[in-house]
Symmetry: C2
Subunit: 199 residues, 2 copies
């Protein structure tokens, strides 16, 4: 008698929530958060808007779930990040333009007045800069070969990753995002097989 | 008899257009382009929506005027750009957060599907990368001190400028945008008075 079985009901509800979050990621990639409507998300998963509200009572609640999803991808413990893993992360990102589009659109919107993702991004960047400084310190010690400290290099590392994503999303044919990121790492003193004449 | 004087009428109309564009820049900074309404822009300049439509028949027409405004600021001829001018530009940008917010929000949105500013940004970035490569070549010749070509360095230069803007807009107390940009220039081989212990 599966109907009414609370265990199955919970699993079904969690699956449904995950499906809604995936649909929300797509709708945000297409229209941004302010341009996204709960109706569009509901339609994509074959729910009525009322049915969607049962899982996420507000648009902001759905945004919170989307941002939590974001955090889970980054769930590599600080002590396990290494410079070469960052290069791999950028390679990986180049294979998933949809999701990069979602978060590039959200980051862009987050700087507008009173945006509900603003606090999230502000805290996230503070944390990521700290984490990147730790990665750089583990690799280079208190000074990079060029004389900058890890703390002063971290915002540049983060800025290059974000900035390249916009150029690449707008023009994937012209911008080799992973190659450009490896070039940046080579500026830091790394030289991860920088080819003389890249494609 | 100023009323009916076609010269004065044209001047008045141009002034009114400029005023509308300034209001649109503000509204986009606050809400993004998709979140902006012609009604909000009209209200800010004390016009009816009908009155606004007389000057800009569609929201997209107003966006085009906003983007043209953007282009005029950059109207430094390629041959006159120099690396140290870029550092000054970033200093200057740090004094006008409103306008940087407008264009960071627009860039973010531009990667969403079918956004009316997408073609503008795609072309703009191709042009800016080319122009930056020329600046780097004038400064360093065919190879930078670190071995990268001007063409491979240009996307990094542009990415750092954009990426730093987001971090700075979100957290101006924590991010010294002009200082970080000078740090980046020092990675390229420049060493524009990098202080040992910055604020």
């Amino acid at each position: 008698m599966p109907y009414g079985d609370p265990m199955n009901a919970r699993v079904r509800s969690e699956e449904r929530r995950a499906e809604i979050v995936r649909a929300a990621l797509e709708v945000i990639a297409e229209r941004g958060y302010r341009g996204a409507s709960l109706a569009a998300v509901a339609e994509r998963v074959g729910l009525t808007q009322q049915g969607l509200l049962h899982h996420f009572p507000t648009k902001e609640a759905l945004l919170v779930a989307v941002l939590k999803e974001r955090d889970q991808w980054d769930a590599v413990p600080d002590t396990q990040w290494r410079i070469d893993l960052l290069a791999s992360l950028v390679e990986y990102n180049a294979m998933r333009p949809g999701i990069i589009q979602t978060f590039s659109a959200l980051l862009g919107e987050s700087v507008t007045d009173g945006h509900p993702a603003r606090a999230y991004f502000t805290e996230r960047y503070a944390r990521v800069r700290e984490s990147m400084a730790a990665v750089l310190r583990a690799e280079y010690g208190d000074r990079l070969p060029n004389g900058l400290t890890p703390e002063r290099t971290a915002p540049l590392l983060v800025a290059v990753m974000d900035g390249l994503q916009y150029q690449w999303l707008l023009d994937p044919e012209s911008v080799d995002m992973p190659g450009a990121f490896r070039d940046f790492l080579s500026l830091l003193g790394e030289n991860p097989e920088t080819p003389e004449n890249p494609a």
